[in-house]
Amino acid sequence: MRLITAIVKPFKLEDVKDALKEAGATGMTITEVKGFGRQGGHTELYRGAEYTIDFLPKVRMEVLADTADVDRIVDVIVNAARTGKIGDGKVWVTSVERVVRIRTGELDDDAI
């Protein structure tokens, strides 16, 4: 099994979720995060002072998947999340040794 982690732009979340659903993914977990990258930050004002915010809001998605599905899911995410503008984010894949579904105790592929 693999864990696919993606950092995407928040306003793309709905699109990615819908695309994943369509592609048959049955679950995912998301976190509100902040990203620092090439995109750079933005400037804010505070009573006559300017300051830069380096971290921009992003959404982090985690999807556990059968090894066989990984390529497809990565593609689905990349396609749905892409705007072509800087800051679109990353997807990465790590190997998972074991998965358990808490409710049933099912293991690994059955647990996803």
Partner: protein, 427 residues
């Protein structure tokens, strides 16, 4: 001075005037929570309760001290042209429910058409918010215990005398300066104290390199709304009647805030490229501060001019702390000290006898420079007195119990370190 009870009675009690001052007292009371949120929105969330607590606690402690001693020190010996009141009204003795005349009917006096106890309660709300204004400059690092001691001593040794000088027929009033609702007594006074404490405390860890943006501008705007609303009672209530002067004061208050918002935002927009919501809030407050001494004394387009200039000026005054590198965290100096000075002195220019027969015309209305000079003297006297006294009081407290929280407490934040609480536990 004779006791109030021995003076000629006040005017007949007027239910309309009483109704308005009852309401005005409630409005001014409501300003302190408003101030709490105005400031509270600007601090980092770990210090929010510290800020709110300092303001709310002022409502507890200072109210009680006012009754026990400070009211008497401020308003006792009304009209004596002196430096401080007396002990006639200690514990609100003789603060009766009927009307009274205070002072000497042949000299400086105040003949009330409202219950004396209402006058004293109304003034109490001023005595609460004035020290609370200081919390803006000391944000994020003042020990709660030191704060408690400071405002208690300051109320008695600074606020009460200054109120006597100006509001109770003390030496500044006798000389001929005017202050409708507290440009000097409230704003210069608190602003100078804020400067003193900022100097004594030193800078917040990380200031100015690390940005410390407001944690919740909605709270600040809520506070702004509450302050603007309450200021109707602060300024128009100071007429102590529901009459034409109160009406003019109410209008002047509202429109000066409006114009000051425009003044601040215009300069901000030109200098920084955007009009910010914090700028709108700050500008409005700057205008409210500046119009306070003038509220019942000016007319025509004067309040718009005073407000607009105050907004622009206070925005520019933000640079002072950056230039001199003292950490007046939430800009008490730029808004209250500068705004209060400007308003107090502007009164010497814009005062209009036709609006309020108690005051001579200001310089721009052809009244000569006497008033202007007196206004400058009063402003400088209050500034100097408050600054020196506040430095002294603060220094003593620093030596005895320490003004500033420990490094670790500052990092953790005032909420946990001073009050064992956290502001938000959402989720």
């Amino acid at each position: 001075m004779p006791l109030a009870a021995e003076l000629p009675p006040g005017l007949e009690l007027d239910s309309g005037n009483t109704a308005w001052v009852l309401m005005a007292a409630a409005l001014v009371l409501f300003m302190t929570p408003g101030l709490a949120f105005f400031y509270g929105g600007m601090v980092r969330s770990k210090n929010l309760l510290g800020m709110l607590m300092q303001n709310f606690f002022a409502m507890g402690l200072l109210g009680v001290l006012w009754v026990l001693v400070a009211f008497s020190l401020a308003f006792g010996a009304f009209g004596d042209g002196g430096f401080i009141g007396n002990l006639d009204f200690v514990g609100f003795k003789d603060v009766v429910t009927s009307t009274v005349t205070l002072g000497d009917p042949d000299g400086l006096f105040l003949s009330l058409s409202i219950p004396f106890v209402l006058f004293a309660a109304y003034q109490m709300t001023f005595a609460i918010i004035t020290p609370a204004l200081i919390t803006g400059s000391t944000a994020d690092r003042l020990k709660f215990s030191a704060y408690v001691v400071f405002i208690a001593v300051w109320l008695v040794l600074v606020y009460a005398p200054v109120a006597h000088w100006v509001f109770a027929g003390g030496w500044l009033a006798e000389r001929g300066s005017f202050d409708f609702a507290g440009g000097a007594v409230v704003h210069i006074n608190a602003g100078a104290a804020g400067l003193a404490l900022a100097l004594l405390l030193g800078r917040r860890k990380g200031w100015p390199e690390t940005p410390m943006p407001p944690h919740s501008l909605p709270l600040t705007l809520l506070g702004t709304g509450m302050l603007w609303f309450g200021w109707a009672g602060f300024n128009a209530g100071s007429a102590l009647a529901a009459d034409g002067i109160a009406a003019q004061a109410l209008f002047n208050t509202f429109i000066a805030a409006s114009a000051a918002m425009l003044g601040w935002l215009l300069v901000e927009r030109i200098k920084d490229g955007h009009a910010t919501t914090l700028g709108a809030a700050s500008g409005a407050v700057a205008g409210l501060v500046a119009i306070t001494p003038c509220a019942g004394f000016v007319g025509g387009l004067s309040p718009i001019i005073i407000g607009f200039v105050a907004g622009a000026l206070c925005f520019l005054a933000l640079g002072i702390k950056r230039r001199f590198k003292f950490d007046d965290s939430l800009d008490v100096v730029a808004v209250h000290l500068v705004g209060g000075l400007f308003g107090s002195i502007a009164l010497g220019l814009f005062a209009e006898d036709a609006i309020n027969p108690a005051i001579p015309d200001g310089m721009l209305l052809g009244g000569g420079s006497d008033l202007f000079v007196e206004q400058v003297i009063a402003a400088v006297a209050v500034l100097a007195f408050s600054l020196v006294m506040s430095l002294a009081i603060g220094k003593v407290i620093d030596l005895v119990i320490g003004l500033r929280v420990s490094d670790e407490d500052e990092t953790v934040g005032l909420d946990l370190s001073q009050h064992a609480e956290q502001a938000y536990n959402v989720g």
